[in-house]
Symmetry: none
């Protein structure tokens, strides 16, 4: 029932790795929405919307507020911060600064010669 503590684990990625759920997240980027609004804007049947929202909530990506008989969903910040931190560890890759391939091949060649 309660959302997981968000660190950059695979459950967060798998939650986002579903087309509809990614759309939901992108939709909520602009602000909180109710289940019905989400379903309508994305052309979903209500049960599927609820199911996807449950998955996202269970993985700590969304949080829910009850408003009368409506449930308002909004994004939590932590998972995105965690994802951002994780991505930072790939900064070297992103910047293409090292071409480690040459070095690697060199090492292999050295080993072969022993």
């Amino acid at each position: 029932m309660s959302g997981k503590i968000p660190d950059m684990d695979v459950t967060m990625l798998s939650a986002l790795a579903e087309p509809t759920r990614k759309k939901i997240v992108e939709l909520l980027r602009d602000g909180p929405l109710s289940v019905g609004e989400i379903a309508e804007r994305l052309g979903l049947r209500q049960p599927q919307a609820s199911k996807h929202l449950k998955v996202l909530s269970d993985n700590g990506i969304l949080e829910m507020t009850a408003e009368a008989n409506r449930r308002i969903y909004k994004l939590r910040s932590e998972p995105f911060q965690a994802m951002n931190d994780w991505l930072k560890s790939f900064r070297g890759v992103m910047e293409d600064r090292f071409d480690k391939l040459d070095q690697y091949l060199r090492d292999m060649q050295d080993q072969d010669q022993r």
Copy 2:
């Protein structure tokens, strides 16, 4: 056969949303490796390693270089840049809980990245 053009689509996420593949990516963060080395370091059987590497390659996350009868895999930069760009669109969400100092420092850091 050839890798897909990397934009932040769900296929990239689903490729990373598998525990072993995420480990492979994190392993290759430090430099290119051959199939055998990847399998050994992660305790995988060779066929499973090859299969995961194929998925990652098909989604444009890795690229391969043939060296004799070895295949060297390394990370491509584009998918991570795309993921980073996508994440930036959630900056409003991420910064929600930060005071202005943190926001300021973050902006400075982003400038450094150019």
